[in-house]
Symmetry: D2
Subunit: 346 residues, 4 copies
């Protein structure tokens, strides 16, 4: 039984970790922290966990946390990097769901997050937690930097094309949309039901923090610096990311069926990537609550632009599910353990 | 392994049976029928089941169905009663999610459903599938009439009060609201997103088919004919029933804490009824996808009216989950088998 | 041209006053205040007003406000009562959309609002701004206390029955539901989209501040103290209140068509009350953005309980529209001036 | 008073014409047709029009229709082209909201609509009803082909860039999303609330009927054949189109402020195009119910890709509002007559 600690348990990724680990055959949550809710029963904040979780929130304490086999950080950025060095020193492995260790270049991180990085020496060691590219490194990692939600959907959609140098790496476009749970459980007027319902908008168009992360990972895949235009949008729904990816084929003679074959082969061993039949139109609800990424390929009018559609649940494959997938690899468990829940439809 | 057949698999309760049985340790779906979709892969209609279910719909055939241990009818009313006699004769047990066998009085059934009942001789044998009242009879039943969704929420909320004769049985009021999945997966203008979103209405105010069913069951509990005003409403959401139940206390000296104690005792052994602490306000999302009914008691201003709040997921405890709970009892399985999924929150 | 000042312009009722007065032929907004947004352009906060409103928010100043013909308070409770005495002294008329002057009994007000009333001497003078009962008093009033949103829907539905003593005034039940805009434009976790979407709940069951207001007004109509059980619910939609009202007929021989006739007669001269044909099921969307209250009558199973359905837009007839209707009466304008916008459907 | 006839009044664009003309000072609806609802009162189908519209639907009759000054077709494609020749012959002007006369090339039309065009001889005469480009031709037109909803949003966003040859016309990308009212008031399972709520998907990715229309109009603006990748998506909301437009600048030295200036100048005289300040993020709700198109410009990271955001209400500027704007021009009325309603917010 893997003994899990969770730092920052009052947000949506924390609640999702609780839900998923409650159904995990080989892991259990030993402690969950929150300064604000210290002493409060978890199921008072999240009544959906009544009868399932009898923990109470406690103030984060490194000594106590280090008694766990692994600690998940389900915090905003800038929290994990304060506690991780001590936990690693105590021999506890760490899976960070925040942005603190995603970007390998400390200066680039500082530019986008407007503060200095507190432990740049760990950036090299941190493993980017996308099992579809880094499974081996994840298995032995002490510190996992879980990918962002948009990056997961965008990278899984572009990777096969860039790895095979089939598209123009300088003209990548990602038009993506997310449900609002990605913005977290924070009291903001902009995220009120009365502000969001029945409306749609782009945001972060001039620059979103997931851009450098995506470009970093796609550049590794392409083996050259890529150029991406990334436009996120906010959907009037709770869960789900849909990425619509545009790229130009370098060789117009490569057929769409060849691309389809390539994707199927690339993800043949990936239990959570579903390459749908040609012509499919993935809906975000088909992955709601599940850890699957569904991908479909199109080439409109048989012209030169490849359109890849990629959907995930931002809180599962885009956060807590992927974190547990990493944990499974780290502790030698089946990669799919605890991640079998089927999406509600309708 | 219980071998299951499903008649009418293209609707929401059929899809929900597939989802739940896919996660059931001791049951498996052997066949699923649909005349309209004969030959179509189930996961084409419900992409959320890709990788989970590889069945195809087939035309209903009694001979084939009777090779199953149990057949679920996830059909509109008026289908089950045509096939059930043959299936029972062949030794197959039947769990009917439709209304065909819920009302014991054939004449009353005919009045509300505007047609004659085809096998009134089975009405006496049919067991009303509410495990919280009929567990013993369910265990040995050949034919289960699963309660309607509203009836489940309303009955569980009123039962303890009526069984103990604590409230005026002639002045019961149930103001209830349901998500639209209760109306099924049928193409109707009224249920279009553009017709329903951002709006709320009552319906069936002058008479709803669930009224005679609820009055029948509450009368059994009260041991006298009760009088209920039942007003259903349609919510702009997919899943969830919320019943707000009003009744007048007969003895004003009985305290609210006594009522709370009574409810807790009544449902102490019911794994799927959660009597919440006094003052709670159950939200439908806390039971979404789960088989739990959450109940909370109030007595506004300490006056004489008891208000019971009761929430369920109409497709789970209100239909397919309850049906599986009955199956578990019928086949000697743990009552909670396959019903452990935790609600998504958010 | 009536010169209007608005105190508290950053909330939803303030925005709604701006929208409605922008289309009013005989009134214009001269100033709108907000301490927090002092100096900010109104259309920056509310882009829907771009090209329509070129005001900026300013700090509230009694001297400046008293240059207006009328000042609307679109504030939380406890603000108006601080400024109203001075404004009245300066000869400015006041329409208060908050709760400060709705309850005639200062002690009762204090009990429900947990603070002392600052100008109890004005409670007698304040006119309850429901034009369907108080039109004459409104015309000459210096100070209007606009009804709450739930009270408007509930009172208009019960008034004819109580005025004619047709139902048992001791057994009134109102099960009502509101869109979340009624909770205002405040950053609260509970009102986030991710917390509300796809879910429904009751709230304030044990006691809601609109209860004493409704009982006060219904008691005036009934000419005796009434007893109401009032249960509000929160809908996953932005606008709209739906009240489902239950009462027991005193004389079972009075037919439903007589009740219908009574309602039609009672509201024959009320331009904003639409008594729909018998059997109608009013939807909240049919009054969205409009000042109309639509009412329909039912008597389920021809038993003894009358069910009245009443819908309004909480921000229009339940707040800003009703306030403008009062203003029209106060300044001798046509009662419907500026209130003609038709609901969007879909 | 312009006397208006509406063919096909039971859909959403028909209802929207009724709503808008009800508030129009210089036009009135004389008749509205529907074969299916012949004899039914309009306000029975659309209760939001109670007290506003007392017409009944009638069977379409060319003789009767030709007594109108102008006839609007709010029908699916393939209806208008059957009746238009006769109406024009009778001297009645026609505004067609369907697709029948949008594409100038009859062969191209047939390819996308899978049938022959019945009056190709009128294609040359038909004026494309986008007042921002064709105001003069609209004034004297006998037959208007109103633009599609997506085309309106996409064209208004791309036009200034293409007219000035500032971007690569061979690499245009439009990722757009629409509320479901664009799919009409037809009973389809895919458009049920239970199928759409909380989910998002692309559709028509391999080829959507609006593509040839948009390419036709953009090619006219660019004075050369353009190449567009157009990907529509379906939003879980009723109204609103959001177009996210990507194009590559030909001269990287042209600054974003110059582009902004260009857009402001291009639309200086267009009463319904709002070029928002640089950096704005238009929300669809800010145009809900109104005829405005709001546009904002971005150039992420100051790289070479221009991102234009463009929002409209698909039923107003994308259909019925634009049709009335055309009518105003045709009959010498103020261009904005009857189109002044302000969006509800929230």
């Amino acid at each position: 039984m893997v003994k899990v600690g969770i730092v920052g348990g009052t947000g949506y990724t924390g609640a999702e970790l609780l839900r998923l680990i409650a159904g995990h055959p080989d892991a259990e949550v030993a402690m969950i922290t929150s300064r604000a809710e210290d002493g409060v029963a978890v199921d008072e904040l999240f009544p959906s966990l009544r009868g399932v979780c009898d923990l109470r929130f406690s103030v984060p304490d490194v000594a106590a946390l280090s008694s766990c086999d692994v600690v998940f950080f389900a915090t905003p950025h800038n929290v994990a990097m304060k506690l991780v060095p001590e936990l690693l020193a105590a021999g506890t492995r760490v899976i960070d769901l925040s942005a603190d260790f995603r970007i390998r270049d400390a200066a680039l991180w500082s530019k986008w997050y407007n503060e200095e990085h507190l432990c740049p020496e760990l950036l090299d060691e941190a493993v980017y937690g996308l099992p579809e590219t880094n499974a081996e490194a994840i298995k032995s990692a002490r510190l996992i930097a879980c990918p962002g939600c948009y990056p997961t959907a965008v990278e899984l959609g572009f990777l096969p094309l860039l790895e095979q140098k089939l598209v123009d790496s300088q003209r990548l476009i990602a038009s993506a949309a997310s449900g609002v749970s990605g913005a977290g459980r924070q009291a903001k007027v902009d995220n009120l039901f009365a502000e969001m319902d029945g409306s749609f908008k782009a945001y972060g168009v001039s620059g979103h923090r997931h851009l450098p992360e995506i470009e970093q990972e796609l550049s590794i895949a392409a083996n050259e610096a890529v150029n991406l235009t990334f436009t996120p949008h906010l959907l009037p729904q709770v869960r789900g990311i849909h990425a619509t990816l545009f790229s130009e084929q370098l060789d117009p003679n490569v057929g769409l069926d060849e691309l389809q074959f390539l994707f199927e082969k690339r993800y043949a061993d990936a239990p959570f990537v579903d390459v749908m039949p040609l012509g499919s139109l993935p809906q975000t609800r088909t992955v709601r609550g599940g850890n699957t990424c569904r991908i479909a390929l199109h080439r409109p009018q048989n012209r030169n632009t490849v359109v890849v559609l990629s959907v995930i649940d931002n809180l599962v494959k885009g956060a807590s599910g992927q974190a547990i997938q990493c944990m499974n690899l780290m502790f030698g468990l089946p990669e799919t353990a605890g991640l079998g829940s089927i999406s509600l439809l309708p």
